[in-house]
C-alpha cells in the first residue's frame, strides 16, 4: 500500500520531482515557493542530484536549459515576478525544443504585488508569456495530492514533446498541508539522441533556437505547430462533477475549483442543479467539452482569482450558446464557498 504522509504542497511537489527522476534543480528564492527550493537544497544532493542556488531567475532557467541540453531532467520553480524573468528562457527552451519543468507558485500582482495566492498569471502561462509562436503545456493541480502526482506527468510530458511544461499553482496550494499518498520513484528513459553528450561516435549535435534563413525558421515553426496540434488532440485533461444533469455549470481550476467543490455540494443539498468542470490542463484547453456542456446548461459561472482572464477561454469555447458569468476575487483573495453559493442562489431566483 502506498505510504500516506502529511506535507505542504511545495514540498510534496519537490519530493515528486526527486521520485520522477529530476537530475538537476536550479532556483532562486521568492515567496511563496521557498519551501520547494529549500526542500531541493536539502534532498537533491543526498540523492546524488544537482542543486544550485542561482544568482537570478534568469540564470536559473538558463542552467535548466544547459542541463536539459545535456540530456538530463531539469526543473526550476519561482513565483509570479520571478516567472516574468524566466520568460526569455522559456521561449528559448521552446525554440530549441528542450524539455523542462517550470513551477509557478502564483502570488498577487501586477509588479511585486503581494505574497498571497492568486491566479493572475493565467494569460502569461497559457498564451505564451515569452516572445514568438510557442506553447507550453500548463498543468493546474487543486490539491497537495495533485501537486505531487502532476509533477510526474510534467516530466513525462516535457520529455515526450520536447518542450517546457509549467505547473501553474498558487501560494495557498503551495503552503497548505494535506495528507496524501506518495507515488513510487520511477526511472525515466535516457534515450535523447539530440542531447549534447560529446561527439565521440557520431556527428556533432547542436542545440539552438536561431535560424537566420527564413525557410529554416518557417520549417521549425511549422514543426512546432504540428506538435502543438498533436498535444491539443491527445493531452486535454479535466475533472467533472455532476455535469450530467446540471443547469448551472461552474468552471474553475486550482484553488478556485476547491471553493467550487464545497459550493457544489452545498448547492446540491439545497436542490440546485449545479455541476463543475475543472481543467487539469489549462493548455491544451478543454474547449470541445466546454462547447458540449454550453449547449446543455442555462448558465456558466467562471470562478477565478484574476480579473477575467480564464473566462476568456471559456467564452471562446462556449461560442455564445449560453450566458457566461464571472465570479472572482483579486489581489490575493481566494473565492469563498459562500459567495459562490450566493451567486448560484441569486441566479435561481431570477
Amino acid at each position: 500500500m502506498a505510504e500516506r504522509v502529511l506535507m505542504n504542497g511545495n514540498t510534496a511537489l519537490g519530493e515528486a520531482a526527486i521520485r520522477a527522476g529530476c537530475d538537476c534543480y536550479f532556483g532562486y528564492p521568492i515567496t511563496p515557493q521557498n519551501e520547494l527550493t529549500s526542500y531541493m537544497a536539502t534532498y537533491m544532493p543526498p540523492n546524488g542530484r544537482v542543486f544550485v542556488q542561482a544568482e537570478s531567475e534568469l540564470a536559473a532557467i538558463n542552467m535548466v536549459y544547459g542541463a536539459s541540453a545535456a540530456g538530463k531532467r531539469a526543473m526550476t520553480s519561482s513565483s509570479s515576478p520571478g516567472i516574468s524573468l524566466k520568460q526569455e528562457g522559456i521561449s528559448t527552451l521552446a525554440g530549441a525544443e528542450l524539455p523542462a519543468v517550470i513551477v509557478n507558485v502564483q502570488r498577487g500582482g501586477p509588479g511585486l504585488g503581494n505574497i498571497a495566492p492568486a491566479q493572475a498569471d493565467y494569460f502569461q502561462a497559457v498564451k505564451g508569456g515569452g516572445h514568438g509562436d510557442y506553447r507550453q503545456i500548463v498543468l493546474a493541480p487543486d490539491s497537495v495530492q495533485e501537486m505531487h502526482d502532476l509533477t510526474f506527468d510534467a516530466f513525462d510530458l516535457a520529455d515526450a514533446y520536447r518542450g517546457p511544461v509549467m505547473i501553474l499553482t498558487d501560494g495557498r496550494l503551495g503552503q497548505m498541508m494535506e495528507p496524501f499518498e506518495l507515488r513510487p520513484a520511477v526511472t525515466p528513459g535516457t534515450d535523447k539522441p539530440w542531447a549534447v553528450t560529446g561527439a565521440a561516435e557520431r556527428d556533432p549535435n547542436l542545440v539552438r533556437s536561431l535560424y537566420l534563413v527564413v525557410e529554416e525558421l518557417e520549417q521549425l515553426n511549422l514543426r512546432l505547430q504540428a506538435k502543438y496540434r498533436e498535444i491539443e488532440s491527445r493531452e486535454v485533461r479535466v475533472e467533472e462533477r455532476m455535469t450530467d444533469d446540471c443547469d448551472i455549470l461552474l468552471v474553475a481550476y486550482g484553488s478556485s475549483a476547491r471553493a467550487c467543490k464545497g459550493a457544489l455540494n452545498e448547492a446540491r443539498a439545497k436542490g440546485y442543479k449545479v455541476g463543475l468542470l475543472r481543467p487539469l490542463t489549462l493548455w491544451p484547453f478543454p474547449s470541445a467539452r466546454i462547447r458540449e456542456l454550453a449547449a446543455k446548461v442555462k448558465t456558466i459561472i467562471v470562478v477565478e482569482m484574476s480579473a477575467g482572464q480564464f473566462i476568456e477561454d471559456v467564452q471562446l469555447a462556449a461560442e455564445f450558446q449560453t450566458e457566461v458569468l464571472l465570479e472572482n476575487r483579486l489581489g490575493g483573495f481566494v473565492p469563498e464557498q459562500r459567495d459562490i453559493l450566493k451567486r448560484v442562489e441569486g441566479l435561481s431566483k431570477c
Binding site: 544537482v50 542552467m63 561527439a199 565521440a200 539552438r208
Partner: protein, 252 residues
C-alpha cells in the same frame, strides 16, 4: 613543398568558410580553441556554448557538440551543462556585450562559484553583429553608432576591465589577458587557450581568457590598422598579462 601536420586545419574545426569580415579575430580564436581540443584529444567530450553576437554562428565552424545560449546567459548555460555532466569539458565563448554588459551577473557568479568551465572572452571594444554600437569595453573617445561623438566617460562610464574585476574573487583558478595583434600575440593566445582547456581536463576549476581582438569593420580601421589599435590603444587600457595562476593572484 609538403604539408606538415601543424599546417593542417584542426579536426575540431569544420571546413566551412566563415562569415566573419576580413581581418576579424573570431576566426583565429576559433582555430586556437580547435587546436587545443585536438591536442588534448577531447573532441569527443567537449561541449561548447555559443553566445549572441557575431560569434553566435561559431557552431558552424566547431566540429563538436555546441549549445547556443540566449544573450549573456552563456555562463549559466555552461554551468547547467557542467553540473549535469561533470565528465564533459565545457567552455563558454563570449563577446564583450554578452559577457560584460547583459551577462555581467552570470559571468561574475559563475566565476565566484568556481564553476569548472573555461570562458573565452573576445573583447574587440564594440558590438559587431548589431552594427557597431558602444560596448562595455569601448575605449574612451571611441566613436560608435551609439557614441557618435566618442565615448564620454562622464555619462557612459569608462571601459570595464573584466580580468581585473574577476581577479578580486577567490575561486578563479586561471585568468589571463592576451591580444590578437600579430604573430607573437597569437602565439601567446594559443598558449593561454590551451592552458585554460588543459585545466578543464585536469579538473582544476574556473578559467578565464580575455582575447583582445581586431574588428576592422566597426573599429573603423583597415585590417592592418585594427591590429595596431589592439596592440597599442587597447593594450594601454587592457594590459595583457597573467592575473591568476594555479589559483594564486599574480602580481603585475
Amino acid at each position: 613543398m609538403t604539408l606538415t601536420p601543424h599546417s593542417r586545419p584542426p579536426e575540431a574545426l569544420t571546413e566551412k568558410p566563415t562569415h566573419y569580415c576580413p581581418g576579424c579575430g573570431h576566426g583565429i580564436a576559433h582555430k586556437l580553441i580547435a587546436e587545443a581540443v585536438d591536442k588534448l584529444d577531447i573532441r569527443g567530450r567537449v561541449i561548447g556554448t555559443a553566445p549572441v553576437g557575431c560569434s553566435v554562428l561559431a557552431y558552424f565552424y566547431m566540429n563538436f557538440d555546441v549549445v547556443e545560449a540566449a544573450h549573456g546567459r552563456t555562463p549559466a548555460v555552461a554551468t547547467g551543462i557542467k553540473r549535469a555532466a561533470p565528465d564533459k569539458i565545457v567552455f563558454a565563448y563570449q563577446g564583450d556585450g554578452d559577457l560584460a554588459a547583459i551577462g555581467t551577473a552570470e559571468t561574475i557568479h559563475a566565476a565566484n562559484r568556481g564553476e569548472h568551465i573555461a570562458v573565452f572572452f573576445i573583447n574587440n571594444a564594440v558590438y559587431g553583429m548589431t552594427g557597431g554600437q558602444m560596448a562595455p569595453t569601448t575605449m574612451e573617445g571611441q566613436r560608435t553608432s551609439t557614441s557618435p561623438d566618442g565615448r564620454d566617460v562622464e555619462t557612459m562610464g569608462p571601459p570595464i576591465r573584466m580580468c581585473e574585476l574577476l581577479n578580486t574573487l577567490d575561486r578563479p583558478y586561471y585568468i589571463e589577458r592576451v591580444a590578437i595583434d600579430g604573430a607573437a600575440g597569437v602565439r601567446k593566445a594559443r598558449k593561454a587557450v590551451h592552458t585554460a582547456m588543459q585545466c578543464q581536463v585536469e579538473g582544476k576549476g574556473y578559467c578565464f581568457v580575455e582575447i583582445l581582438s581586431p574588428c576592422p569593420t566597426y573599429q573603423r580601421l583597415s585590417p592592418v590598422d585594427a591590429l595596431g589599435f589592439v596592440g597599442e590603444n587597447m593594450k594601454s587600457v587592457f594590459p595583457t598579462r597573467v592575473f591568476r595562476k594555479n589559483g594564486e593572484v599574480v602580481d603585475a
